[in-house]
Amino acid sequence: MVTVPKKFGFGSFVSSILWLVFWIVVIVTLVGLPLIFIILFYVPLPYIGDEVLTPYLFFSMMVDPTRTIPIIKFLIHTDIFRVMVFPGFGYAAIIAAVTIFVERKFLAKMQLRVGPYYVGRWEGILQLMADGLKLISKEIIVPSGADKLLFWLAPVLFVATAAAVTALIPVAPGGWVVADIDVGLIAVFAILGFFPLIALLFSWASNSKYPFIGGLRALHQMVAFEIPFILSALSVVLVAGTLNLTEIVESQYLYWFIIIAPISAFVFYISSLAELERIPFDLPEAESEIVAGWITETSGMLYGLIQLGTYLKLYALAALFVILFLGGWTGPQIFPEEIIPGYTGEKIYNHIVINGIFWFTLKTFGMIILFLLPRGISPRIRIDILLHTGWYKLIVLCFINIFAVLTLIYGGIIPTGGILQ
C-alpha cells in the first residue's frame, strides 16, 4: 500500500499548529493545572535560601536566568542528584560509555586498523549510539531449559553491584561522594565479592556447557586474585591509618602513596586486570576456546547490561587505583578563583571542587587507558600459570611491600596512626 502525502498548503499548516496549541491549552487547564495544585497541596515546598519556593517564585526565576541559580544549586545538593547524576551512576555511566568507544579506537590505532569509522561525521563518533539502539531492539532469547528467574535476574544484579561499587568512590573534595562510610575500602572489597557469585549463578542458569566452563573459570580466577587484591591495599591502609576512602585521599596531600608502595600498586594493577576479566586474564570469556565464556547465552539488552556492568567495574577499579595510589583529586590548582572577572552576583562555581573533578577524571582516564593497553599487546595466559601467579607470586610481592612499609613506620619515618593525625 502506498500512502500519498497530502498536498502542502500554508493554510492547513497554520491551522494544524493552531489545533495543536488549542489542545495543549485545553489539556493543561483541565488536567495539568488541577494536578499541579493537588501535588502542591500535599508536597511540602522546599526552601531556597530563606524563601519558600512557590510556583510564582519559580516562574519569575524561569523568566530571569540569573535567578535560576539558587534552584540549580538546590538541586545539585540534593541526595537524589548525588545518586543519579554526579558522583553516582550518571557520571560513571558516561565514563563507561566513553571507555567503550575509546577502547575500540585506541586498540584499532595500536594495531594499525581504522576502527569504527562510518557512523557519525567524524571518526565514527556515534558508533556507540548505533550499538545501543541495536542492542535495545534485538530479541532476548532465553535458552530452553534455562532457569528463567536467575537468567533474567543475574544481569540486573551485575549492573546493580557494579553501580554500588561506584557509589563508594569519592570524586572531589567537600563530600562529593554518594556513600561516605568509615569502612569504605572494606565495603568495596565486600561488594566486589558478589561478582564471582553472580557469574557462577548466571553460568549455571544458562543451562549450556560453554557458560558453565566459563563460570567455573571466573570463580577460580576471582577467588585466586581476591587475596593479593586485598593485601595490596593493606600497605596503603597501614600508611594512611584509615579505611575511609576520602581520608585516604586527604592524607596524600604531601606525596602520592605510589612512592611508598610501588610493589603494591603493581600487584593491585595486575589483580584488577584479573578481577575485570581483561586480557591477559580473560579466560572466563576466552572467545577462541569457549565461545564467549559465561556470557555466551546472553542476547540483546541482557548482554548490554552485562557490558555496562563490566565497564562500570572498570571505572570503579581505575578510580580505586587513583584513590589509593595516585592521590585522588589532589593536583595543582589550575582553575582561577573567578571564572568571569568582576562578576559580583551569586557564586556559580567552586574552583576547588572543579579542580578536584578535573584532576580525578584525568587520572582515572589515564588508569583506564593503562587497563585497556594489555589488550592490544598481550596474548591470553594459561589457567595454571594464572593460578600460580595469583597464589604464589602476587601474595609474596604484597608481603614484601607490607614489610617495607612496616619498616618505615617502626623506623619513625612515617608517623604511626595515620598521616592526618
Binding site: 565479592g193 549463578l201 549455571w204 581476591e226
Partner: protein, 179 residues
Amino acid sequence: MIEVHIMAEQVFYGLAILTIGSAIFALESRELIYGAIGLALSMLGIAGFFILLDAPFVAMFQIAVYVGAVAVLVIFTVMLVRTNELFTKREDKNRRIAGIVFAFIFMIVIGLILLGSELSKASIGELKIDNITQKIGGEMLTYYSPAFILLALVLAGSIIGALTLARREDVDNSYERVN
C-alpha cells in the same frame, strides 16, 4: 530523634523477616541452588543487623566472608553434586513437626534465661565510643595477644592440614613448565 528510632525499628523487623524467611526458604527449597541462594540472603540479613548495631566493620566482613566465600563454596559444591540422587525419599512429616517443636522449646528456654539474667537490665545509655574497631585491634594486640597468637596458630595449622589433605601423591607434574 524519635523518628530515627521508629525507622530503626521498622528496619529491624524488615531485616528479621528477610533473615528468617530466607533461612526457612533455604531449608524448604527442593532445588539445592535456590537453597544456597537463600542461605546467602540470610547471611546478608545478618550483615544488615550488624549495620543496625553500629558495627559496619563486622558487617562488611560478614558480607565478604559469608556471601563472598562461603556461599560461593556451597554453590560450587552443589553444582558438582547430582541433586536428584540425593533426594530419593521425602522427609517424614512427624520429624519436621518434632524439629519445629524442639526449636521453639529451645528458643523459649534461651529467652527465659536471657530475660532472667543481668543482660536484660544492662542499658547502653549515652555510651558513645569512637574508633571502636581501632580500640578492639589495640586490645587484641596487647592484653589479649596470647589468644590472638593461639588463633593464628590454629588457622595456620588448619591451612597446612587442608594442603596436606588436598595434596595428591599419584600425579607427577614435575615435567610441566609452570612459567
